[in-house]
C-alpha cells in the first residue's frame, strides 16, 4: 500500500481563458502608500522583504500617497503624460498602417507607456537604456523625431537604420537608446558591461536594461544578474511583467512560484516590485535605484507589474488565448488614465487641457506620418542597396566590395 501520491506532471495554466471571467486574484498586490521606502544606501540584507511588496504611489482617487511619493514639478509630470499619450496615438496609427500594408510588422506598447516615459525623464542624459521593443515612450519623452520613427518603420529612403532592421527595433545613441536585437534578453549583459565600464572609468553614468517576464527564463538573464552582482555594476535591471509572453502567461516563466523581483534575492541584489502603471511609483523606484548605483552600492532588480493591453505584435491575436476583457479587469488600471487623474486632482490639468494635448499629439503623429508616407512606405522607397553592404565591418573586405559590385551597386 502506498502512503504517498503518484507523481504527476504539473503544467501551469492561467486563471482564465477566452470566454472566461478575467481573474487576477493570484496577483500579489498592496495598497498605494503601503510599501516602506528604505534608505537608498541600506545594506541588501535589510531589503529582503521588498521583492514581495509593491511600490505604489497613486491611489484610486489619483492622489500621491506614502513614503515613495516623489516631489515632481507639474511640467515634469505633464511631459511624462504627453510622451505616454503620444506613444499610444502613434501605436494606434502605425498598427493601422501595418493593416494597410504600409509596413511588415508593428508592436504596440499599449498599457506599458508609463515605464519608458518615467525612466526616460528620471535618468540622466548620459545614462544608457538597453531597451526591449515596448519602450517607445522613452524616445517620445526625449523628443526623438516622430517622422524618423515612421521612416524606420516603413524602411523607406530616409530610414535612419538604412533598411537593415525590422520595424520598431530602433537604435538612437544620442537619446540614450541602445540598438534593439530580436534575440530576447541578449542585451541585459551589455547593460551590465556598459555599467562596469562606467565604474572602471570612474564615470557618473549608469545603465538600465530590460527583459520581459518571459525572458527571465533565458540563460542570458542569469548571466547578467551574476555579473552585475559580482562586480557591483551600477546598473538597473528591469523585468517588465506584462503578464503575457505572446500566448504564455507569466506562470510559464515561473511567476506562479514567486515574484520576478524576488529573483534578486539569490544574487544578493535588492529587488523592488513596482506598480508599472503608476508613473510616480516607477519614477521614485528608479531614482532610488539610480542613487544606490551612484552611491557605489551596485545593481538593483526592478519588477514592473503591468499589463500588455494589445496583441504581442501585428502578427498575433490575443483573443485566441486570453479573455477579451482582461485588460479592463487588470487591477492596476491604465497608466495614462491614472497619471491624467493625478494631474487633475493636483490642479495641474483640466479635461479641456487634456483634450487639447490629445489632439495636439494626434496632429503631430498625423503630420509625421504624412511626411514619412511622402518619402515612401514599405516597398515604395528604400535606402540605396549599397547600404546593405555597409557597416558589416568598419571597412568592407574584398568579399563585400565584390558582392556589392555583383549586385550592381
Amino acid at each position: 500500500m502506498k502512503n504517498r501520491p503518484e507523481l504527476s506532471l504539473h503544467i501551469p495554466e492561467p486563471a482564465s481563458r477566452p470566454g472566461g471571467e478575467p481573474d487576477f486574484t493570484a496577483l500579489p498586490l498592496q495598497d498605494a502608500g503601503e510599501q516602506r521606502c528604505p534608505d537608498t544606501l541600506a545594506p541588501e540584507s535589510e531589503l529582503r522583504d521588498m521583492p514581495y511588496g509593491l511600490v505604489r504611489v497613486l491611489d484610486d482617487e489619483g492622489k500621491a500617497v506614502g513614503p515613495w511619493a516623489p516631489d515632481l514639478p507639474a511640467d515634469h509630470l505633464l511631459k511624462g503624460l504627453e510622451a505616454m499619450v503620444l506613444t499610444r496615438i502613434f501605436d494606434d496609427r502605425l498598427f493601422r498602417a501595418n493593416r494597410q500594408g504600409k509596413t511588415s510588422f508593428y508592436m504596440k506598447s499599449s498599457g506599458e507607456e508609463a515605464i519608458g516615459a518615467a525612466h526616460s525623464l528620471c535618468l540622466g542624459e548620459r545614462d544608457m537604456c538597453f531597451p526591449t521593443y515596448r519602450l517607445l515612450s522613452w524616445l517620445m519623452a526625449r523628443d526623438y523625431p516622430i517622422v524618423a520613427l515612421c521612416n524606420q518603420i516603413f524602411s523607406n529612403a530616409k530610414d535612419p537604420l538604412e533598411g537593415r532592421q525590422m520595424p520598431v527595433l530602433y537604435s538612437a545613441r544620442e537619446y540614450g537608446f541602445y540598438s534593439i536585437s530580436g534575440n530576447l534578453g541578449s542585451r541585459l549583459g551589455h547593460a551590465v558591461g556598459w555599467a562596469m565600464a562606467s565604474a572602471y572609468r570612474h564615470d557618473d553614468s549608469i545603465a538600465i536594461g530590460y527583459v520581459g517576464e518571459g525572458t527571465t527564463a533565458e540563460g542570458n538573464v542569469h548571466e547578467a544578474l551574476t555579473f552585475a552582482a559580482v562586480y557591483r555594476a551600477p546598473v538597473i535591471l528591469c523585468v517588465t511583467n506584462n503578464q503575457w509572453a505572446i500566448s504564455s502567461y507569466s506562470g510559464i516563466a515561473g511567476g506562479d512560484r514567486t515574484t520576478f523581483a524576488a529573483k534578486a534575492l539569490a544574487y544578493g541584489l535588492p529587488g523592488l516590485r513596482v506598480d508599472g502603471n503608476d508613473f510616480l511609483a516607477i519614477h521614485a523606484a528608479t531614482k532610488w535605484a539610480r542613487e544606490r548605483a551612484l552611491g557605489n552600492k551596485g545593481a538593483t532588480l526592478i519588477e514592473l507589474v503591468t499589463y500588455r493591453q494589445a496583441a504581442h505584435s501585428s502578427s498575433d491575436d490575443p483573443t485566441r488565448y486570453r479573455p477579451k476583457d482582461e485588460a479592463e479587469a487588470f487591477p492596476l488600471g491604465d497608466p495614462i488614465d491614472r497619471l491624467k487623474q493625478h494631474l487633475i486632482v493636483r490642479g495641474d490639468l483640466t479635461e479641456d487641457a487634456y483634450e487639447a494635448l490629445h489632439s495636439d499629439c494626434e496632429k503631430r503623429v498625423r503630420e509625421a506620418l504624412r511626411e514619412a508616407e511622402a518619402i515612401g512606405t514599405l516597398g515604395q522607397s528604400k535606402p540605396s542597396v549599397k547600404a546593405m553592404f555597409e557597416q558589416v565591418f568598419k571597412e568592407p573586405d574584398w568579399r563585400l566590395i565584390e558582392q556589392r559590385r555583383e549586385a550592381g551597386y
Binding site: 537604435s171 538612437a172 541578449s186 549583459g189 551590465v192 558591461g193 572602471y200 540563460g219 568598419k394 573586405d397
Partner: protein
C-alpha cells in the same frame, strides 16, 4: 628582441597593450591571480592591477556579453575563453550581438572586442578540449577570425586584433604554445628557442590582419594551412621532397585572397589542410574560391586534408589528426595528374 615561445609572445602583447592603453582590460576564467590555465595572462594582474586583469564567473555567455557592453561604451576588452570548445555558450552573443551590432545600429554602436580562444588537438583532450570551431565563426559575417602559427605572428596579430574596431576571435593553437610540433604522436615538442619566428621584439609591433605569410616558395603545388597545421604541412613537404609552396593564411576573415590566387595560378595545384572536420569546414570555402578564381590554371583536383566528420575522439586522436602521412598522400596525388 628575445626568444619567446607563443605563450610568452601573447603575454608580451597583452602586457604592452595594457601598459599603453588604459581602455584595455582583460578578463576570463582564471586569468587574474592565477594567470590563466595556459599562463598567457601570467603576472598581468600583479603588474597592471586588479581592474585591468581579473577573473570571471564560469559563464562564457556572460563574459562575451559583458565585453560587448564595455566595447559599446568605449573600452577595448580582451577576453579569454578557456578552451575553444567552451565558446558555444557565448555563440549567441558573438553571432547575434557582436557580429551585428554595428550593422543593425547603422554604425551607432560597435563591439571592439577580442575573444582569445585556445583551440586544436594533439593534447589528448578528447572531444571537449580539442576542437577547431573556426568555420562556425567564419560563416558569420561581422566577425574576424585570426589564427597565428608562431610566436612572432602571435604577438603582432594579437596587437592588431586588439586595435581592431570589429570583433575578433583569436584562435590560439595550444599545441604550439610551448614549442614546434610536426604532427607525429611520438615526436617530442621541440622548443621554439632556435626558430627564427621565436625572435620577438619586446615592444609594440603589428602584423596586419588579412595578409598571408609565405612559409616556403615552390612550383609544384600550393598548400594552404593555418595554425598548427602550418608546421605539420611543412614537415610533410620536407619529408616527401615535392616542391610545394606553403602559405600560412594567418587570418581567415579577412582572407588574403590575392596571395592564394597568385600562388595557385603559379603552381596549378592546391592542397588545403586544417584540423577541423571536413564537411562544410573552412577548407570547403577555400576550395570553392580556388575553383572559382583559378579553374583554368588547375592541373589536378583540389585536395582537402582535414579531421574526419566525427567528434574529436580520445583514444583515436592520432587516427583523427591530419598528420604528415595523409598530407604527403595528398601532395603525391596532385602530382600524378
Amino acid at each position: 628582441m628575445s626568444a619567446m615561445n607563443m605563450v610568452q609572445a601573447l603575454n608580451s602583447a597583452l602586457d604592452v597593450k595594457l601598459g599603453e592603453d588604459p581602455d584595455i582590460m582583460i578578463f576570463g576564467e582564471d586569468v587574474g591571480y592565477f594567470g590563466g590555465v595556459f599562463r598567457v595572462t601570467d603576472k598581468l594582474q600583479e603588474k597592471h592591477g586588479l581592474t585591468r586583469c581579473f577573473d570571471t564567473p564560469i559563464s562564457e555567455g556572460g563574459i562575451v556579453a559583458t565585453a560587448i557592453g564595455m566595447g559599446a561604451y568605449g573600452l577595448r576588452p580582451v577576453v579569454e575563453i578557456q578552451f575553444a570548445d567552451y565558446i558555444l555558450p557565448a555563440f549567441d552573443q558573438l553571432v547575434s550581438e557582436a557580429a551585428r551590432l554595428r550593422y543593425r545600429s547603422n554604425g551607432e554602436f560597435w563591439a571592439p572586442i577580442t575573444v582569445r580562444v585556445p583551440y586544436g588537438g594533439g593534447i589528448f583532450g578528447g572531444q571537449t578540449h580539442s576542437q577547431s570551431p573556426e568555420a562556425l565563426f567564419t560563416h558569420v559575417t561581422g566577425l574576424k577570425s585570426v589564427i597565428p602559427s608562431n610566436p612572432y605572428d602571435a604577438k603582432g596579430l594579437l596587437i592588431s586584433a586588439i586595435e581592431e574596431d570589429d570583433p575578433v576571435i583569436f584562435f590560439e593553437p595550444k599545441r604550439l604554445y610551448n614549442g614546434l610540433f610536426e604532427g607525429r604522436p611520438d615526436d617530442p615538442v621541440k622548443p621554439w628557442k632556435n626558430h627564427p619566428l621565436a625572435e620577438v621584439p619586446e615592444d609594440i609591433y603589428r602584423v596586419p590582419l588579412g595578409k598571408a605569410r609565405m612559409i616556403r616558395e615552390g612550383e609544384a603545388v600550393t598548400v594552404l594551412a593555418y595554425g598548427t597545421m602550418v608546421h605539420v604541412a611543412l614537415s610533410a613537404i620536407e619529408e616527401c621532397g615535392i616542391d610545394a609552396e606553403l602559405l600560412d593564411l594567418r587570418s581567415l576573415v579577412p582572407l588574403d585572397i590575392d596571395a592564394i590566387v597568385e600562388s595557385v595560378q603559379k603552381t596549378g595545384r592546391c592542397v588545403i589542410v586544417h584540423e577541423a572536420s571536413r564537411f562544410a569546414g573552412f577548407g570547403g570555402e577555400l576550395s570553392s574560391l580556388v575553383q572559382e578564381r583559378c579553374f583554368y590554371h588547375l592541373r589536378a583536383p583540389i585536395e582537402r586534408v582535414t579531421g574526419w566528420d566525427t567528434p574529436y575522439p580520445h583514444a583515436f586522436e592520432w587516427d583523427y589528426f591530419p598528420g604528415p602521412k595523409r598530407i604527403i598522400d595528398a601532395l603525391q596525388r596532385t602530382q600524378e595528374v
